[in-house]
Every structure is written in C-alpha cells, then in structure tokens.
C-alpha cells in the first residue's frame, strides 16, 4: 500500500515539530526517516500510525484519505522503540493479541489463531519461546517478537520506531540485515525511524533526511550520500571537511584553488562554505597549482583505510583525509611532513 503525506504540520506548544512535510512512499518500499533527535521523525511516524494527529495536512493510504481514521482501524503494524510487549502475557498471547481483540464476526477461531501465531513465531525463528514472558527474553528476541506481533494483524504498512536503538552493536547489525531480508520476502511497505546514518544507508531503499521539522532530502542511499542537497545532509551523513570560501562572479576561491560554479554567476563576493568528503581529497608530494598546503599532524594507520589529520598552513584549519592503505604506503608519509591537498567533488553552498 502506498502512503502519501501532504503538507503535515504539528506543533507542541510553541515548538514546531513538523513544519510542512510532504512525502510519497510507493508500495513495497523500505524507507528510512533519518535525522537527529528532535527533527520530528518520530512524530511523523506516529502521525502515519494515527498515534498523533496533525494540526494540518493529510495522510493518504493508497490514494484514500486516512487522516481521520482512528488508530485501531488504520491497519498499520507499529513496532515501538522499547517494544511495548505486554509484560503480563506470554509471548504467544502477545502475538495473538491483535487477533483476539477483533470483533466476533472477523475473529479467527482458536485453531486458526494457534496456527497463525506459530507461523509468525517460526518466521521470526522464536517459536520455542512461545510460553515465556517478555522479561525473560533478551533485547533482540523482544524486538523480533514485537515485529511478529505487529505482523499478526496483516498490516498493509509496517512502521518501526528506532527499531535497533536499544540493542547492543553486534545484535543491531545482525538484526538489521535480518529485517532487510524479511522485507524482501514480505514486501510490506515499511517506514522506520533512525538517527543512525549507517543503519539507514545499509537497510533502506530510500532515505528521507529530516531536520528541524522539514525534509532536507529524499533519495536512494547512494544519492543522499554522493549528492547531498544541503550542508545539513552533508554533515549528517558521513564525515566531511568544511572549507571557508568566497564566491564571486561564478568562481569560488578556496586557498589557492579557484573553482568554476555555473549556478552562481550573479553572485558578487559572498561568503560560502565548501564541503568535501575525507576520501575525496588527494595527497600530493608536490604542488600542482590547484592544491592547498598542509602539514600532517596525526596518522592513524590501523586497518585498510588510513586516517590522516592535517593542518592547513594558510588558515591553520583542521582537515581530515582518508587514504587506501596502498596509496598511503606508496606516498611514504610521516607525521610533521608538509604535503599538498587536492580536493575532488567539492560542493559549495553560499552562506547567508
């Protein structure tokens, strides 16, 4: 089922959590809402679920207006951040809950409930825990039970709030791969909230980057990583170096480098910020006219990628560079040496 979100606004007191958010989620996609805490992503997810009501704007499921449909009739599956398992019920009863509370005429009989619950428990590979209670399970197990419980009502949309947030690093990695595979099997339109860029980049078909109640960028993981639409996205996804610069008549000047910018022809002497990823900076032994002189202050050479910290000689600004082990070895760099930096893929944003 596709989801359309049209110009949603939501305030808490004088704080604007969502300030005109619009979004289309096609059927069967796995979408990540990514942003720092306070960006409104959880509020948006809860609005899609019907757990919050927007001040204005509308939500459409498969083209039909669902804004005023009560949460219990929306037919969404929701996995809560802390799972919200009913602690006084067994795992079996937790998963069966959504079936048992149906009105009599649509409620499956006991054998059917049993069959369905065990099927779901098998799907999440935890059938052997059916008679336990939630406190007796590990975090990862609870997470999977929460998912099975949400799937029991055969939702058209699956919503997950920070699904891996409360788990430790190892379990988190396993679970997110598992979720990806599960999604590929079930193809339920799914939206999950996360503040972890790595998680979003690895799991999602598409990423919605949010900040301060607005959508900054929507795109595939590749797009948002390689072509960030705004300084915020640049800084939020991956490491980035920031150079102060000036833009004048279609040219940006960063140190000795002059960069031609077609889109800023009309700009007269304006301050700007140039962004470049650490792995997009080349290190040269000798100057080539379009490079910046810098001194290596620290080398961290463990693993396949070598991290260098440098200090620009002209501005004393701090620069980070990532090299492959191969390149690093061929350059034979040492701490304290002076080298020349040549950035590729510089993106310039005007400061106003």
């Amino acid at each position: 089922m596709s989801i359309e979100i049209k110009n949603i606004k939501r305030n808490f007191g004088s704080f604007s959590a969502l300030n005109g958010v619009s979004l289309n989620i096609p059927t069967g996609e796995l979408v990540a809402l990514l942003g720092p805490s306070g960006c409104g992503k959880t509020t948006l997810l809860r609005i899609i679920a019907g757990l919050e009501t927007p001040d204005s704007g509308s939500i459409h499921f498969q083209g039909e207006d669902a804004t005023d449909i009560a949460v219990r009739e929306r037919g969404v599956g929701f996995v809560f951040q802390h799972y919200a398992l009913f602690r006084h019920m067994t795992i079996f009863e937790n998963v069966a809950f959504g079936l048992r509370v149906r009105p009599k005429h649509t409620r499956p009989n006991e054998t059917e409930i049993k069959r369905r619950v065990h099927e779901l428990l098998n799907l999440v590979q935890l059938n052997w825990l059916a008679d336990r209670y939630p406190p007796q399970l590990s975090g990862g197990q609870r997470q999977r039970i929460a998912l099975a419980r949400a799937l029991a009502v055969e939702p058209k949309v699956l919503l997950l709030d920070e699904p891996f947030g409360a788990l430790d690093a190892k379990v988190r990695k396993d679970l997110r791969r598992w979720l990806r595979r599960l999604h590929d099997e079930l193809h339920i339109t799914s939206v999950f909230v996360t503040h972890d860029q790595e998680e979003a980049l690895e799991v999602a078909d598409r990423i919605v980057v949010m900040n301060q109640g607005v959508v900054e960028q929507i795109g595939s993981p590749q797009e948002v990583y390689d072509n960030p639409a705004s300084p915020f996205v640049y800084q939020f996804l991956g490491n980035v170096n920031l150079f102060h610069s000036r833009v004048h008549a279609g040219f940006a000047k960063i140190g000795d480098i002059e960069l031609e910018l077609d889109e800023h022809q009309q700009i007269q002497d304006s301050p700007a910020l140039a962004y470049v990823r650490p792995h997009d900076i080349e290190i040269l032994r000798y100057p080539d006219g379009t490079s910046i002189q810098a001194k290596i202050s620290y080398i961290h050479a463990v693993g396949p990628i070598v991290h260098l910290e440098l200090k620009r000689l002209d501005t004393n600004a701090h620069v980070e560079v990532e090299l492959t082990r191969e390149r690093f070895d061929s350059l034979k760099l040492n701490e304290g040496e002076t080298v020349f930096l040549r950035p590729h893929n510089l993106r310039v944003f005007l400061q106003n």
């Binding site: 007191g13 019907g50 757990l51 919050e52 009501t53 949460v71």
Partner: protein
C-alpha cells in the same frame, strides 16, 4: 481543563477527567465549601466569640503544642528507626519494618483505648511511672503520647527511601578524604535527608492537628486542660451550636489547607532543588 495541546490518541480522557472532577466536587469540594458559607453567615462578633473564647484558645494551645511535640519526637525516633532499618541487620527486621505502618492500619479508637489502658495508673507502663509522679493518661501528656503514636510512620516512610537511595559511594568518598563517622553523618547524610525529614515532620504534624479518635480516650477531656480542638467541635455540635462548631471547623480547615499547600510547595521545591525528597 481542556485537552487542548494534547491530541493524545488514548481514549477516555473526557470521560475519566469529567467523572473524576464531578466526583471530587460532589464528595469533597461542595461539602467543604458548605463550611465556609455557613461560617460567613455569622456576624464577626459571633464568629470571634466562637473561635477565640478562652476555652477554645486553650484547646488550640493543647492541639498545636502536643502535635508539635509529637511530631518532633517522631523526627528523632523516626530518623533513628529509618536509619536502623536501612543500615543494620538484625533478627526480625522485615517484621519490624512492616509493623511501622501499624498506626496507619489500626483504627484510632482501638489505639485510643489501648494506649489509655497501658498508660493509666494501673496499666503496664503507667504503674511504672506512677512512683515517679508521672501521670500520662488523662493529662496533656497523654495527648502527646497518642499523637506520637499516630504520626509515627510518617517520618520513617519519608526518610527511609532517601536513605536507601543515598549512594554508599559518597560516604566512602568522604571517609577516604578523612572524615570520621560523625562528620560523614552531619556533613553528607543529614544535608541529603533534611528535606525528607521536614516533609515527614509536616505530614505528622498535619495529621496530629486533626486527630480525634486516639486522643479522646486518653486525654481526659477536661476543659482548659486536656480538651483538643476537634473535641470542641463535637461538643458544640452536641449542644446544637452548629454555627459555633462551623466557625471552629473553618479555622481548622484554613490551617489544614495552609499546611497542605505548604507541604506540596515544599516538596515541589525540594524536588527541584535536590531531586531526592519524596
């Protein structure tokens, strides 16, 4: 009280709040306000006559004086009890801990007759005190004993959780810095628990001021000597002096409200300030 900024999807807000406010109004607020309306029907002179006659003033002195002494006794022994229950191990500790709430559970009339039986001149304790010329039952001292009894759990139960949550680490730190046990107590522990002590004291005092059942059996109820204010209200009622009873009740109510709001305000303040007082 409208659910304005809170578009909560949980059901039942209007129903539950509406019912709660209606019930609160019917059982508590409207009947309480009746006291003040009735009191306002009195002329100032009559009102003053009712609340400031010598016999009534003597009852205030006894009620507040005995409540104060009782609450202070409870501060000392309540702190001691809370300390012993959280810090030391002894046989029957769990039982003693549960039993601290006994004054909450025991009907006040039973407490009253039991206390007057043991503190009367031929009672278990009274007969021991008799040779020293100490009379407890049927004197103001008896009032203090009864009010100490009913206020006993308050200080223990407010201080106990704070003592439990007080990390051992800070005491160890103080000890490692060279503080002796007594210095640790009055420089580290006492500052942490004093909001709870004051709260417990105020709760015990407020409860004692209004107490009736446990006191009247042991007090002797002699006008000007051992007659508490709640008894004055009853006496006036029995003489069909409704206006007089209401006037005294209004005075007591105002004092109760002040105590309640002072306690709530103090707890709010100390929660913000210390974050640990209950």
């Amino acid at each position: 009280m409208k659910n304005k900024h809170n578009k909560n999807t949980l059901p039942g807000f209007n129903l539950s709040l509406g019912y709660a406010v209606l019930y609160l109004s019917l059982i508590v607020l409207i009947p309480l306000s009746a006291t003040f309306f009735k009191a306002f029907t009195l002329s100032w002179a009559d009102f003053w006559q009712a609340v400031a006659s010598p016999r009534v003033v003597a009852s205030y002195k006894l009620t507040f004086g005995a409540s104060l002494i009782g609450a202070l006794i409870n501060v000392v022994f309540g702190l001691l009890t809370a300390w012993v229950l959280t810090r030391y191990h002894f046989f029957g500790k769990k039982f003693v801990d549960a039993f601290v709430d006994f004054p909450f559970a025991l009907p006040t009339a039973v407490a009253g007759i039991a206390l007057s039986a043991i503190y009367s001149t031929n009672g278990w304790i009274g007969s021991w005190l008799e040779p020293f010329g100490i009379h407890v039952a049927y004197t103001p001292l008896g009032v203090v004993v009864a009010l100490t009894f009913i206020g006993l759990p308050f200080v223990v139960r407010t201080v106990q959780p704070v003592l439990e949550d007080l990390g051992a680490e800070v005491e160890e730190a103080a000890a490692s810095l060279g503080a002796n046990r007594w210095q640790v107590f009055y420089k580290i522990i006492l500052p942490a628990i004093w909001p709870a002590l004051i709260t417990g004291f105020a709760l015990a005092f407020a409860r004692a001021v209004g107490e009736y059942g446990s006191v009247i059996f042991i007090a002797g109820n002699m006008p000007m000597v051992s007659e508490i204010t709640p008894l004055i209200i009853i006496t006036k009622l029995e003489q069909y002096d409704y206006a007089g009873a209401t006037a005294v009740a209004a005075v007591m109510l105002v004092i109760s409200f002040i105590l309640l709001f002072a306690i709530n305000g103090f707890q709010w303040w100390s929660n913000r300030r210390f974050g640990n007082a209950r």
